[in-house]
Symmetry: C3
Subunit: 479 residues, 3 copies
């Protein structure tokens, strides 16, 4: 009996079943109150609210927009200036972070993980203390520090506090998706809450934000961090520090906002940065720091370069490329139940009409512009517009979509609400049309068998189509 169970179990975990069911197989169910996805018209969205801080800017998309209500996510874009430090914080839903520009470092505070990064000096605690008090160099220990690099997707589990620092010379720009309808979020499903460990930052998502609004530093002074609401005496007792330090933790006088400037730059121990396009796994293999913890969450790979052309899953020298990050190539995504896709379409090239079987797709324009058409269940066009850099549109589950690059080409990042999002193309070599017998095609479209044959076999490309090849194809047909 035990044996048959094991067999059954292995069967149900076979790669093919997972491939099809992915999301379903692992119990994702998004939180929805009914019919937020009754969508008649979509528009390309830009951020509607800005929060300015000392060291950078947070731009917020309106969570109450129907597109976000349907997909159950929130999106913000963060710009951290050079030497800017994002205060440590966490949210109740997982985050998927795309580094649109720049480079930096980030530290996560994961419960139960050891402080594996340490300075080389072998001084004792007491000696370090004394040297510290004399202004010397501290001996320090802290948890792993990770690099943030342009083109990377970074997966942040729900509830894990983290800080980020721009160690480069240009602004660090990140597009951040927070999955509020995720199973991990037992808290507010409408407005994701961010809990800060320091400072007195304003909440990013709030029912009090008005569209087009902007907040300057120092405004909305009622917000605080996790220590602000404690009795100062309790902070004193908990940390064993003096009252003035406790008040610094409570940050009642801090007007710098959620991103602060580090005047002389942040000097922390961090591993040498590998060349761009080396992923962290390779780096780890080369590293002499291997400590036997590689397989734990403490050292789990949380990021992957999705821009690296060598990692493309679909590639056409004439049309572009498509790269997918899912639970198969970034396993932590199975816990987040999110995945991502990076698309690059060359001038006028087309991504085949397709639909997502098991996920919403939140598309953000990274470069250039493209025409996107989206069709709902009634066969009506709900979006036929250009998406430009910095704009965002949601393609709901099962809605048909077709993309065509403009003159300067088009790049996008798509966040998907399933760890193994699947799409089905409707034209091309692996499409639904190819799966049907010619006789069926002929009858459902009321065309002759010859026409059905041509419809079925004319496009030999799979997902990304060369532009303007309609003419050539036709000539081939006629030949």
């Amino acid at each position: 009996m035990a044996k048959s169970t094991t067999t059954l179990f292995l069967l149900s975990c076979s790669i093919a079943l997972v491939l099809l069911n992915g999301c379903m197989g692992q119990g994702r169910m998004r939180e929805m109150q009914g019919n937020e996805c009754q969508i008649d018209r979509l528009t390309a969205l830009e951020p509607t609210y800005r929060i300015q801080a000392e060291g950078g800017l947070t731009e917020v998309w309106d969570t109450q927009d129907q597109q976000f209500q349907c997909s159950g996510v929130s999106v913000i874009r963060r710009t951290i200036e050079p030497n800017g430090l994002l205060l440590p914080s966490f949210t109740s839903g997982p985050e998927l972070i795309y580094i649109e520009q720049g480079n930096g470092i980030s530290g996560l505070m994961i419960p139960g993980c050891p402080e594996t990064f340490e300075s080389m000096s072998q001084e004792s605690w007491r000696e370090g203390m004394e040297r510290g008090m004399r202004g010397g160099r501290f001996q320090d220990q802290h948890q792993k520090i990770r690099h943030l690099r342009q083109g990377h997707i970074f997966a942040m589990p729900a509830g894990v506090a983290h800080w980020a620092y721009n160690s480069g010379n240009e602004p660090l720009v990140a597009v951040i998706l927070i999955d509020t309808s995720n199973h991990a979020n037992q808290l507010d499903k409408d407005y994701p809450k961010r809990f800060y460990l320091a400072g007195k930052p304003q909440q990013e998502h709030s029912r009090h934000h008005h569209r087009g609004g902007e907040s300057q530093r120092g405004e909305h002074g009622s917000d605080g961090n996790v220590f602000s609401g404690l009795d100062t005496k309790s902070v004193v007792q908990s940390f064993g520090v003096s009252e003035d330090i406790a008040e610094k933790l409570q940050a009642k006088q801090d007007e710098r906002g959620n991103i602060v400037l580090v005047q002389e730059g942040l000097h922390v121990i961090k591993p040498p940065s590998s060349r761009s396009y080396d992923d962290e796994r390779e780096q780890r293999h080369r590293s002499p720091r291997s400590n036997g913890l590689e397989e734990t969450i403490c050292s789990a790979r949380l990021s992957e370069n999705i821009d690296d052309p060598s990692k493309a899953d679909v590639y056409s020298p004439e049309a572009g490329r498509l790269t997918t990050l899912n639970s198969f190539n970034l396993p932590i995504l199975s816990n987040l139940r999110l995945s991502a896709e990076k698309g690059v379409l060359y001038r006028n090239a087309i991504m085949a009409p397709h639909y997502n079987l098991n996920a919403h797709s939140i598309i953000y324009g990274v470069r250039g512009r493209g025409r996107i058409q989206i069709v709902n269940a009634q066969g009506n066009s709900v979006f036929d517009d250009e998406l430009r850099q910095g704009q965002l549109v949601v393609v709901p589950q099962n809605f048909a979509v077709v993309k065509q690059a403009g003159e300067e080409g088009f790049e996008w990042i798509a966040f998907k609400t399933c760890e193994n999002a699947l799409f089905q193309t409707l034209a091309g070599r692996t499409s639904a049309i190819r799966a049907m017998p010619v006789e069926v095609i002929s009858n459902i479209y009321q065309i002759s068998r010859e026409q059905a044959y041509r419809l079925k076999f004319s496009r030999s490309e799979t997902t990304l189509f060369r532009p303007e090849n309609q003419g050539r194809q036709r000539r081939e047909m006629a030949a």
Copy 2:
């Protein structure tokens, strides 16, 4: 540490835990807004809306009825006339399909699966093209074609497009449950949406349907298929076809509805039909087509004959039989998180009072008529009526239910909202009463120990009870 995890893991997957928890163990959580299951009165439901098409009829149960709101499902019944072809479509929730009558074939379009069905000729693509254009026989390739047979349950994963064709001589009648509150459905929870790949069919579930309504072909002309909402030029470019073919895809002139007639019959390559009551697995084992893909979703078994008497799980020559399909005998159901039960009660026989631990049960009368009693948590009768062929009633989770066949016997199919739905009988040899000590029974019911003993042990049958044996039992007691 790794070792202990594995052990723990195996333990938690042991068959017994799975048996009890089934549904729970795999994370099903149905989407409900609170108390739709505060049920005072149920009625036997019949379809309230009819959609007539060229090749058949679709009858729709009112999704807004409290019974469907509570169970989070929608139900339709489709009648496909001989030579009728149901246009390819998909929905965002999984479907469980019971073939009430007739025979046919169906093709699924699963992303990533190969076109494994092909005609025998070894012509090249170009030769085929040319022969095709000369009106000769086409060389064709397409995905697997599956048989639809009376008495089968067919499991359709969410988002997978499929068509169906009645290849028999009598109408093909199917009762279809769509699980809108399923984890796989991230779209509309109130009205399941159906996306068609062809034609201009009307949506089956809509807030605009009025009870008792009927739609003729050509009405509700605003609906369309996934191509209808695209710019025709985009369709031309995507498929590399002429504009008139693109317009055929968009089906703006198609008034045939969702089921069309194939005048001279559909001639597609399909495997030889096995005798009725041979399941697909057996057929596959005999087939010389075995291609090493048996364990993938592409060739997964999706259907099983639930009417076959030889598969009964409970059988009494005097009372009837009960057959269950769950994730143990049709593994794909673990992905759908649905299961099914077929019941046959002979004249006046009784199915023991019982409740479903972990699922709602949607009961559809297949033949004859039976008296059904349903009791809620307050101990009130919420249903005490006859269920006839073609009628439907929902038994909410945990509600007690008892069924008794009428003079001509009673057959039903029950769809259950858990992949391993469990029920607990309240009378009979495996019942809750048998699990309690006589002392407890005596005290809770305020009866003597002798009476408690009799109550506990009088019925020696398990689930299906002979009719009118009360008298005989009593005599046995007294003997």
Copy 3:
């Protein structure tokens, strides 16, 4: 391909990933309508409704209170008098039961499990019958009987009927959490329903209850058990008993309420009670009854002593102890998706400020009193009050909390809405502060490096802090 899947699978089940993600990894998603957790102010809650029965009392917390709406649970406290028997019942959500006081026994009715407890006599059924009718001792068989002991947590799967009996000399007091937003509950999410197999008890949770109300026996006569709503003739037929026995099952005249008194005490076969603080597993190993079913749900361990000091996970002779029950030490909890924590703080000791990453925490005061402070995402104090024995407060996911015992010490039980609830301390040796580089701490709190160093390293304890050690710590620092 199959091989790589297996590897991937094992990876994703590695203990570390499970440790972090627990709840998330297994698909819990709680049912919430949006923002019930927008909490500005919490209060210590006491039961608001009392239901008096012949053999005991049920006290009900108001399910409509925001704290329960946010956490998606309901709580009751049951006091069963000596010789009191709680009528068999089940609910659609799983229950976690803490035995606050007393001892007793309980029998579960699990479908498919054998009646493994039997009296020693080897009489045949008929002989037993006859002896029974002569008033002799019955030969009886029933399912396993389990002990209820003070300090134990008992896990009750959804839908499993069970009875309980106070076999001791003092009242048996149990605090019972019902997880209404659990994936297993497909029924009413607002008011958990309890289905009784006997008697005519009143529903515990109802929209008709008014705060501060009390119900005497015999009131609210409209409620009944699962048999009450059936036609009496159907009961007669189903059980093969006479009409007067059937009417006893339907309990139309029973005014005893949900807990009845067993006049001369309940005499059932039960295993010898092991010494307190022996867990059931050990007991099973010693037992000669081992029957090869140990690994099934029928014999699964459902309870564990959480009060036993020897099982503490965190222990400080000066501050107190903390004991956790989760799916690693009580595997059935992975099916319930709940866990529990028992805390004991000595006089004036402090539990470090912390937050729960992936769960709500429902705290019930067991002994003494403690000051609890809770802080929301905006940094506002939402609770700063004393929690006394018998009171309850909910700490929502991610909210910061700090506890300090009063003069007589403080003990609590916390129910958590995740099978592997994790918390992150904010002060102490394993805290988030320790995970950050000193440089970061210095910058985010605007303090010098020396101060940051001191803040980071001053507290060397992990979770439970000695009282009044602030002074000593400081002296150490200054030394």
